[in-house]
């Protein structure tokens, strides 16, 4: 036997014995002092072989023994806490991995709150503060792989990463600040940088090192969901250190490469989130995506197609990273093709939530901005073809936001790929999103991420020379306040007909554009003023108006025509509504006309159901802009106090889905009165709901014309709501619930929204008692359907609407239950 080994063993055995049995402080102190020799750092250090023997074989045992003897009395065997210091120094100066394991072990092994537990926890905090975690990881980096080693490593790993959890569980309310995750993980990040610094130093010194333990720690931390805390410290540190140093960069690449596969996603997501830009990301990751399959999957598929949580700058970092190296660029091109496929797939358009569609669209635009013309040239045709398919199915959608995305992306792609010939131009509303999207498409100047706003350059380009030029006179103070000049309109010659019949004649036969226009402008007022004369020709007039085409450009033509039609419908509701509803399902109408019919019916129904409407003076000529008022519907209605918020809510929905050109004038005194819609609601409602499932040659509601179907569902819902307090509400509700039931799985989100608001209308308008008596089965079915939609529908609006309808159902239940005493 090796004499050194046996000597160490003897010394340790003796010390352990002394520690566990002796009560003599001085003796214990000297025994520990002699053991301390093996840790070095004293005046008479032991031989290296002895030290190694002690560290590898006996250290854990000694530490366990030290942990075991700990008690308040034991520490006070010597005054001035000399013994305590010596005791602690074994944990803080010896090999960190063993010290850490023993510390954790004894903390976890100690039951309940006790002096020992707290002392050990404090010692562990001290251990952390002293930077021993870095020493622990550094030692792991230097060690050669030994047989049986992986197990220890695994234990260490879970200890290092799980420390906050374990300590939290053990210490409960007595937990120390150092062990809280928000403090511990940044510390771990900082320590990791220190370890890497040591690794770089020893690599410079020619020593071989491995960073795989740090990688594993990193991976495990990220998998545990603590990537923000750790990488928030680690990445900025690495960013600074890798700048201009190839060795550091290689270490960083190695660090990420060594991350275990199962943790790769979490780590890479963290890097993308924490890196300030594509340059940094490229420096930290190197060509990882090319070398590592898992990383490639994460970066080119998972983060782009399967998730949509990256913010736009992060997305720019990620795609910019792919674009920065010639080896990675083919990947980016591939990504662009796949993105376009997804963007243009009709199934994706229909079944993915809107935020994800926005995400994909943004990614497409960023890809385009990152790729050079040379990269795009070869696959130009393929990309254009993909774009065309996508635009088609997006423009078919009935959701404005989806259409808008289609238009923006198509404009950018065509401008980029189809440089010869005029670029595509669509009309869409300029909003924040469209501006942001188009800003994404302009390539970023290399090096900085600041986008120049084109508006500024435009502004300065226009000469703003004031009229008076040089004469800044004394009279600069006379800023006269202008009067309202909104009445200053183009003058129309006074050819307006004075009778409804004349108007009709002018509209059908007049070749004189001015007379025609004057007739159109005068019509609404005339109809309101002379209801008797209108009734004589009402259906005829409605026919003329429905088929009216804008011969010359007339400002506000659509609104004028619609208002006139609404006025006619209100004046003679039964016959005109009968005519209009029959035309809705007739042959040879354009979709526009059919939707006009729906709008007119809704507006007329609203007008009819408005309380106190007869007192209203006929609206003349031009309503003054700015004289808007809250919709008359929501203002007052008997019983509205019971559920005012829902009235407003549903009204809001109806209003947002209905095209409206004018609003009623404000009434000062709301007066009660019978609902004029009562007697005619059937004429409005039932013909519309009857024929939706019978396709015509030119009109197929259940097929291509889902936009009209969506409008129809909203119209029916609105009518249902307007028929509140009418006797016909119950059969209407029944028919509407059947209608909703038949279409409930419609693929188009706009249609589903209409169905859901229709369901809410039924719940609002049909008296609760009747609902329960007449429609219990329907209610139950609706309930389960609503619950299903609220949970699973991919459209957010649908989910919200379903939730509201469910809440209405709940209220219904409350209403029916007798109030508890």
């Amino acid at each position: 036997m090796d004499p050194a080994r046996s000597e160490v063993r003897l010394a340790v055995q003796e010390a352990v014995h002394t520690l566990s049995s002796s009560e003599d402080g001085g003796h214990i102190f000297s025994t520990l002092g002699s053991l301390k020799r093996y840790l070095g750092d004293t005046e008479s250090p032991a031989l290296p072989r002895e030290k190694e023997e002690f560290a590898t074989v006996h250290f854990s045992a000694v530490l366990r023994c030290l942990a075991g003897v700990l008690s308040p009395g034991w520490l006070e065997l010597l005054p001035d806490s000399r013994l305590e210091e010596l005791w602690a120094s074994f944990f803080l100066e010896g090999p960190a991995d063993q010290a850490f394991l023993v510390l954790m072990e004894s903390i976890e092994g100690t039951a309940g709150p006790s002096f020992r537990l707290m002392r050990m926890a404090q010692l562990l905090a001290e251990f952390l503060r002293a930077g021993r975690m870095a020493a622990l990881m550094e030692a792991q980096c230097r060690q050669r792989m030994l047989p049986g080693f992986p197990l220890l490593r695994e234990t260490l790993l879970s200890g290092v990463v799980g420390l906050p959890d374990r300590l939290g569980n053990r210490l409960q309310r007595g937990n120390l600040a150092e062990f809280l995750p928000q403090n511990y993980f940044p510390l771990l990040g900082k320590e990791a940088v220190r370890v890497l610094q040591a690794v770089v130093d020893s690599l410079r010194g020619g020593l071989d090192c491995s960073v795989s333990f740090v990688s594993q720690v990193l991976g495990k931390v990220c998998v545990h969901g603590r990537r923000q805390e750790t990488l928030g410290v680690l990445v900025p540190g690495l960013t600074a250190l890798t700048e201009g140093s190839c060795l550091w960069q290689r270490v960083s690449w190695r660090l990420v490469e060594q991350v275990p596969d199962q943790a790769m996603e979490a780590v890479l997501t963290g890097f993308v989130e924490a890196a300030p830009g594509p340059e940094v990301l490229s420096r930290l990751l190197g060509n990882l995506v090319v070398k590592n399959k898992k990383a490639q999957f994460v970066m080119t598929r998972k983060l782009l197609f399967l998730q949509y949580r990256l913010t736009t700058p992060e997305l720019q970092s990620l795609l910019g990273y792919l674009a920065m190296d010639s080896q990675r660029r083919p990947l980016l091109l591939q990504v662009l093709k796949e993105l376009l496929d997804t963007w243009g797939s009709s199934s994706a358009v229909r079944h993915t939530p809107l935020p994800q569609q926005r995400y994909i669209s943004k990614a497409v635009l960023i890809c385009l901005a990152q790729l050079g013309d040379a990269d795009l040239r070869d696959s130009q045709d393929e990309l254009l073809a993909g774009m065309m398919v996508g635009v088609k199915c997006r423009l078919d959608s009935s959701l404005p936001a989806v259409r808008c995305l289609g238009m923006i992306v198509a404009e950018v792609i065509s401008a980029r790929l189809h440089t010869e010939g005029p670029p595509l131009r669509f009309q869409y509303e300029e909003d924040e999103l469209s501006l942001e999207m188009r800003a994404l498409a302009s390539p970023r100047p290399a090096g900085d991420g600041v986008l120049e706003t084109p508006a500024e350059t435009l502004d300065s380009g226009v000469p703003q020379a004031p009229l008076e030029g040089s004469d800044s006179e004394l009279d600069s103070d006379d800023e006269f306040v202008p009067y309202d000049m909104s009445g200053d309109r183009e003058l129309k010659s006074g050819k307006a007909p004075a009778y409804v019949r004349d108007c009709m004649e002018a509209l059908t036969t007049s070749e004189d554009a001015e007379r025609w226009e004057a007739a159109l402008r005068a019509l609404e007022g005339l109809v309101c003023r002379s209801p008797e004369a209108t009734r004589e020709v009402s259906v005829e007039l409605a026919k003329v108006l429905l088929h009216l085409e804008e011969k010359t450009c007339v400002e506000g033509f659509e609104g004028l025509r619609q208002r006139a039609l609404v006025a006619v419908t209100v004046t003679d509701p039964a016959r005109v509504a009968e005519y209009l509803t029959s035309q809705f399902y007739a042959l040879n109408y354009s979709l526009r006309q059919r939707m006009d019919i729906l709008d007119v019916l809704t507006l007329a129904a609203q007008e009819l159901s408005r309380p106190g409407r007869r007192r209203r003076a006929p609206q003349d000529g031009h309503p003054r802009p700015g004289s808007c008022c809250s919709p008359p519907l929501a203002t007052s209605r008997p019983g509205s106090a019971a559920a005012p918020d829902w009235r407003v809510e549903v009204e809001e929905r109806i209003r947002s889905k209905t095209r409206r050109f004018s609003k009623g004038t404000p009434r000062l005194v709301p007066t009660g009165g019978p609902n004029a819609f009562n007697s005619v609601a059937g004429y409005f409602f039932f013909p519309l709901i009857q024929h939706f499932d019978r396709p015509l040659v030119t009109f197929d509601l259940l097929g291509d014309d889902q936009l009209v179907l969506g409008r129809l569902t909203h119209t029916l819902g609105a009518m249902m709501y307007l028929a509140v307090n009418t006797s016909v509400a119950v059969p209407m509700g029944k028919a509407l619930l059947d209608f909703v039931w038949a279409l409930r799985f419609h693929v188009d989100a706009y249609v589903r929204r209409g169905l859901l608001s229709a369901a809410s209308s039924v719940l609002l308008s049909v008296p609760a008692q009747r609902l329960l008596e007449d429609l219990p089965g329907e209610l139950l079915e609706a309930r389960s359907w609503l619950a299903d939609v609220a949970e699973k529908d991919q459209d957010e609006d649908c989910r919200v609407l379903a939730l509201r309808a469910l809440l209405l159902l709940e209220r219904l239940k409350d209403k029916l239950l007798p109030p508890s005493p």
């Binding site: 009229l467 004469d471 009279d475 006379d478 009067y483 909104s486 183009e490 003058l491 003054r624 802009p625």
Partner: protein
């Protein structure tokens, strides 16, 4: 529009002119102070006069050939002068000396009335040669002699007369290749520094021409409009003028030191046709008489639109300002409206 450059075009289409939200904060258009009825014929000419004993008067010339004298205190017609044989009175002007009124009629006569001490008799008349609608212009200081510009015999000529002797000083005829068409409106003025009278004339082809009367020379010509110039007014202090035409725009032009006219900007109107443009004597605002029945008021310094006065039910033919700041507008609907906007302090 020839050499015009639009340095400032204020949008005037209904959609642009005022946002609804802004409109809510602006005061509604003002009402007139009062309306004078009783001309019994479309009003074609207006002129304010500070009558005897400080009683302000308004002269109006009607299509029926009468000149009405209105008292602004009683708001009644004081007298009606019949001197044009039932033919339209197109221009009225008082002379600073004595109580003398000039009236121009479509009967090709320019009458000089003596109104002193309640008299109302024609003391003199000038035979006109032109049958056009061009209003004459007068340049009269304190001296007994004054200068009159009237449309001349030739269709494109302007004749300058020295009054009261009625001697023809000169005839201003454009060069043969200029072809500006008939003169449509005239403005005589004299720069403070020089004794030379200058004439501004708006022509049928839409151009405004500056004539040096003594040298009978066309100093400058600028094409401001595409339609005939219907009215102009000039502000000698700012050396800037404004003209309105049968078209949809007002033009502001200026005169530089070398007597060259230059278009400074055009201002689009909602409806075409301006019968007369007048700058208020204190040069703060200007008013236009619109064929679209409306009076428009602008700030003269910036040409910012201030008000659109829609009272009349037919074309407004003339606008006039009193030194007190009152604005009068005469319309084809036979009414004269009196307004007080942004009164001078």
């Amino acid at each position: 529009m020839g050499g015009c450059h639009h340095s400032r075009v204020v949008p005037q289409s209904p959609g642009d002119c005022a946002l609804p939200s802004m409109a809510a904060h602006l005061p509604p258009p003002p009402d007139p102070q009062f309306v004078l009825r009783g001309a019994q014929s479309p009003v074609h000419a207006l002129h304010f006069h500070r009558g005897a004993q400080g009683c302000p008067l308004l002269f109006s010339g009607s299509q029926g050939g009468l000149v009405h004298i209105w008292s602004l205190q009683t708001r009644r017609a004081v007298a009606a002068l019949d001197g044009h044989g039932g033919r339209c009175v197109t221009w009225l002007q008082t002379l600073p000396r004595g109580h003398q009124l000039l009236s121009q009629g479509r009967d090709l006569k320019l009458c000089l009335w003596d109104l002193a001490e309640g008299r109302n008799a024609v003391v003199d008349s000038v035979r006109l040669e032109s049958v056009g609608f061009c209003r004459s212009a007068v340049l009269a200081g304190g001296q007994p002699r004054w200068t009159l510009a009237v449309p001349g015999k030739g269709s494109d000529e302007v004749q300058i007369l020295e009054m009261p002797s009625k001697t023809s000083v000169c005839t201003l005829k454009p060069e043969a290749d200029a072809k500006p068409g008939m003169p449509m409106c005239l403005g005589l003025w004299q720069a403070n520094s020089s004794p030379r009278p200058l004439l501004l004339a708006g022509y049928e082809d839409g151009s405004v021409v500056l004539w040096d009367v003594l040298e009978r020379k066309m100093c400058s010509r600028v094409a401001c409009h595409e339609e005939p110039v219907m009215g102009l007014d000039f502000d000698p202090q700012k050396a800037r003028g404004v003209s309105g035409s049968a078209g949809k725009a007002l033009a502001v032009w200026s005169l530089d030191g070398r007597q060259a006219l230059q278009v400074r900007g055009t201002h689009e109107l909602t409806n075409p046709g301006v019968a007369e443009v007048t700058i208020r004597p204190d040069r703060k605002i200007l008013a236009t008489a619109g064929w679209d029945h409306r009076i428009r008021v602008f700030q003269w310094r910036t040409m910012k639109p201030l008000a659109v006065l829609a009272l009349h039910s037919a074309a407004v033919q003339c606008v006039a300002f009193a030194t007190s700041g009152l604005l009068a507008a005469g319309s084809k609907d036979q009414r004269i409206s009196i307004w007080s906007l942004y009164p001078p302090p």
